[in-house]
C-alpha cells in the first residue's frame, strides 16, 4: 500500500434507494489521494461526484467497498474534524447573519469569541463581502452566498478540504481570484484538497491530478497527472504543456475540440 495516500477509496459502489427500484450512482470506484495533494474531479452531470465527496466526508455510507481517511474510517475522521466541506449549494443558515454563518464552525469547535470574529472578518475581506457581514443570506445574490459558504469552510482550517463545485456560480474574475487564494492557502498549509469542477481549465490550472469520471453509474475513467511547474501563475497558461493537458483532459471527457 502506498504509505502516502491520505484518502483511500477501494472498490466503492453506491446505490440509492431500494435494491429493485433505486439508482446505481457509483460502480466500483477506486482512488487514492495523497496527503497534501490537490485533486480535481471532473465528470458529466449526475455521474456521482457529489456522492463520492459525501462518502469521503461520512455524510453517506457506501453500499459496497471501503473508504479510509487518514488511516481511519470516514466516521472517525469526521469526528476528528479532518474534513471541511463546501457543498454544491450554499446551505447557509437563513436565520444567521453572514458573519455568524462563517463563525458557525468555529463556534462548534469552541473557539473564543474574539478569535471567531477576527477570523470571520479576515475571511469576509478575502471574499470582499465585509460590508455584508450583518446581513442575512437571503439578502445576497446566489454567487455571494456561495462565496460565504466557501469562507465558512475555510474558517476552521481542516486537514482536508472537500469542495463541490465551489466556483460554479461565480463570474470569471471572482473565480480566478478565489482560485489563486485557494492555491495560496494550499501552498502555505499543505491542506489536501478534493475539488469538483466542471471547468477543465480550472482543473488543470489548480490541480496536481485530475480524475475524470464516466457518466452514471460513475467510474473513474482516467486519472491525469498535471505536471505543470509550481507555483502556477498567469504565465502557466503560456506553457505548451498546459494546452496539451487541457486537450488531454477534454479528450478523456469525450469533448471533441481543444477550444
Amino acid at each position: 500500500m502506498d504509505h502516502h495516500s491520505l484518502i483511500e477509496i477501494e472498490a466503492v459502489s453506491k446505490h440509492y434507494g431500494p435494491a429493485r427500484d433505486g439508482v446505481l450512482a457509483l460502480r466500483d470506484v477506486s482512488l487514492r489521494i495523497r496527503a497534501g495533494e490537490f485533486l480535481s474531479i471532473i465528470g458529466p452531470s449526475g455521474c456521482g461526484k457529489s456522492t463520492l465527496l459525501k462518502m469521503i466526508g461520512d455524510l453517506l455510507a457506501p453500499s459496497a467497498g471501503r473508504i479510509v481517511v487518514n488511516g481511519k474510517t470516514p466516521e472517525a475522521a469526521r469526528r476528528a474534524r479532518e474534513c471541511g466541506i463546501v457543498f454544491q449549494t450554499p446551505t447557509l443558515m437563513e436565520w444567521r447573519s453572514v458573519a455568524q454563518n462563517i463563525e458557525l464552525p468555529l463556534e462548534i469547535v469552541g473557539a473564543p469569541r474574539a478569535e471567531r470574529q477576527q477570523r470571520a472578518n479576515a475571511l469576509l475581506d478575502l471574499i470582499r463581502l465585509r460590508e455584508f457581514a450583518a446581513r442575512f443570506p437571503g439578502e445576497l445574490s446566489a454567487g455571494m452566498q456561495m462565496q460565504v459558504s466557501i469562507a465558512r469552510a475555510l474558517a476552521f482550517r481542516p486537514a482536508i478540504l472537500l469542495m463541490d463545485e465551489p466556483f460554479g456560480a461565480l463570474d470569471e474574475i471572482t473565480r480566478e481570484r478565489l482560485g489563486r487564494e485557494l492555491l495560496d492557502l494550499w501552498t502555505k498549509t499543505r491542506v489536501t484538497i478534493v475539488f469538483i469542477t466542471h471547468s477543465v481549465p480550472e482543473a488543470v490550472r489548480l490541480s496536481d491530478r485530475v480524475a475524470v469520471m464516466s457518466p452514471r453509474p460513475g467510474r473513474i475513467e482516467r486519472v491525469l497527472a498535471i505536471d505543470l511547474p509550481r507555483p502556477r501563475s498567469a504565465a502557466t497558461r503560456d506553457l505548451p504543456r498546459y494546452w496539451e493537458l487541457l486537450r488531454e483532459v477534454r479528450a478523456a471527457l469525450g469533448l471533441n475540440e481543444p477550444k
Binding site: L59, R81, T91, W95, G138
Partner: protein, 268 residues
C-alpha cells in the same frame, strides 16, 4: 419581495396601509359592541340572560375596585403561568425525543393521546385522592391539555429541519447539544411557535375548566359563583377578562415571534 404579495390588501397609499389597523381594529371592536347591543334589543334579553356591555363594564369596575377581581385574576394568572411552563417544558423535551426517535413515538404517543381524550371530570376522584387540590395541582392538570399542540408542533418542527443543514452540522462533528441549539431550535421555531400560540390559549381554558370544577379561588371560581348567584353581569365581566387575558397572552407570543423571527422579514 414586497411586490410579490399580490394579495396585498388594498391599493392604498403606503402610509394609510401601514396604519390602517389603527382605524380598523377599533372599528371592528365598535361593530362587535354594537352587534351585542342589537342582539339584546332585538331579542329583548333581560340582564340575567345577556347583560349589556355597559352593565358588564360596570360590574367589572365595581368588582375591580372592591379588590375581588384583582385577587382572583392574580391566582388564575399564576396558575396559567405555571401550567404553561410545565406544559412547555414537557412538550419541548418529550417532543424533541419523539421527533428524534420514531420508534419511541410509536410506543409513547398512544398514551399521550389518551391523556387528551380523558375528561378530567372522569378522573377527578383519583386526582383529589392522589394530588389533592390547590393552585399547583390546578396548573398541573391544565398543563395536560396545554402540552399537546406544543408537543406535536415540536415534533413537526424538528422533523422539518432540512437534511442539508444536518449534513453540515454532522460534517463539523457537532455534538447533540450543538445540533439542538444551533440548528434545530432556530429551524423549528416558526412551526414550534405556532404550537405555543395554541398552547397558551389552551392553558387559559384549561385552568378555568379545573377551577370551575373544584377551586375556591380564581376566575373559574368567580364564573361558578356568578352563575350560582345568577349574577350574569359578573359572569360576563369574568368571561371578558378571560378573553382579554387569552388575547393578551396570544399577542405576547406573536410579539416574541416577531422578534425571534426577525430574519424572516429581512429576507422578504
Amino acid at each position: 419581495m414586497r411586490t410579490l404579495d399580490w394579495n396585498s390588501e388594498m391599493r392604498l397609499p403606503t402610509f394609510v396601509r401601514a396604519h390602517i389597523q389603527y382605524i380598523l381594529i377599533p372599528f371592528a371592536l365598535g361593530l362587535f359592541l354594537l352587534l351585542w347591543e342589537t342582539i339584546i334589543i332585538v331579542n329583548r334579553f333581560p340582564a340575567f340572560i345577556l347583560p349589556t356591555p355597559r352593565e358588564v363594564a360596570h360590574s367589572f369596575g365595581a368588582n375591580w375596585q372592591s379588590g375581588i377581581f384583582p385577587r382572583h385574576l392574580a391566582i388564575t394568572l399564576f396558575e396559567i403561568g405555571l401550567g404553561f411552563s410545565i406544559a412547555f417544558t414537557f412538550a419541548t423535551s418529550v417532543g424533541y425525543l419523539l421527533a428524534k426517535s420514531p420508534l419511541l413515538e410509536k410506543i409513547v404517543s398512544p398514551y399521550l393521546i389518551a391523556t387528551q381524550a380523558i375528561p378530567i371530570v372522569a378522573i377527578a376522584p383519583l386526582i383529589i385522592i392522589w394530588i389533592n387540590t390547590g393552585s399547583v395541582q390546578n396548573a398541573l392538570i391544565a398543563a395536560l391539555i396545554t402540552f399537546f399542540p406544543m408537543l406535536v408542533n415540536t415534533i413537526i418542527g424538528v422533523r422539518s429541519v432540512r437534511e442539508e443543514y444536518r449534513a453540515l452540522m454532522r460534517s463539523y462533528a457537532a455534538n447533540r447539544w450543538q445540533v439542538f441549539a444551533k440548528l434545530e431550535v432556530p429551524a423549528a421555531l416558526p412551526i414550534f411557535l405556532g404550537g405555543v400560540r395554541v398552547g397558551i390559549t389552551l392553558a387559559v381554558i384549561g385552568v378555568i375548566v379545573v377551577e370551575l370544577m373544584w377551586a375556591d379561588r380564581g376566575l373559574g371560581f368567580l364564573i361558578n359563583f356568578a352563575q350560582g348567584h345568577l349574577d350574569t353581569p359578573l359572569l360576563f365581566a369574568t368571561v371578558a377578562a378571560l378573553s382579554a387575558m387569552a388575547i393578551g397572552l396570544y399577542l405576547t407570543v406573536v410579539f416574541i415571534e416577531k422578534i425571534i423571527l426577525r430574519w424572516r422579514r429581512s429576507v422578504q
